[in-house]
Symmetry: C2
Subunit: 116 residues, 2 copies
């Protein structure tokens, strides 16, 4: 999660959104990538969030150090945020990241197609 | 996301985890509920995270004000956290919360079963 610095305007946030939309095309290790701005229903919230799913810690490290991600951080994040909150967490076994991934859904849809 | 106060030990975190595991049984508006502790691969992280999906802002408000959730906050969060970071965000149309929910997966699995 990020809280923007004071100078950050809607145009900059639009660039962040577009850049984040593009990242999964460049980084194959991303299983699911959901991001968005705070919708304004609570006081004291952060401004923007990215929720990214990976199969392994190694895949997350590849993403973190990937040139496309590093460039995104350098160009659109560094110097533009007042506050950052981050965590890496493991989803429970009965809710593996794959269950929520596009790949997981597409696998299930493919099974439906095959059987139909 | 929470950063625990200094007095919080593993036993307390275990109680938080168990209470969060129970909440979806009590609050029907929850579509997906993923939570977990920081796995310790980055410096400066928060300690615990909850990612909850709802169909509507109204459903989120019902959850927020639900007696089971309020009791959880009163008993296990208030007075036990040094820092909190929160955001409410809308997932993109092509990735609706339902796509990642247990209900969504089960619907797809039911289709597979029916066809098989």
């Amino acid at each position: 999660m990020f809280q923007w610095a004071e100078h950050v305007d809607d145009e900059h946030v639009g660039k962040v959104r577009d850049a984040l939309d593009d990242l999964p095309e460049h980084i194959g290790q991303i299983r699911s990538y959901v991001h968005g701005f705070d919708v304004g229903v609570s006081e004291g919230n952060f401004d923007y969030v990215v929720v990214a799913d990976f199969d392994t810690v190694a895949d997350w490290r590849t993403y973190r150090d990937h040139p496309s991600h590093v460039l995104f951080v350098e160009e659109l994040i560094k110097g533009h945020v007042a506050n950052r909150a981050a965590i890496q967490y493991q989803t429970p076994a009965h809710r593996s990241p794959q269950d929520y991934s596009t790949a997981g859904i597409q696998e299930l849809l493919a099974q439906v197609d095959e059987l139909g």
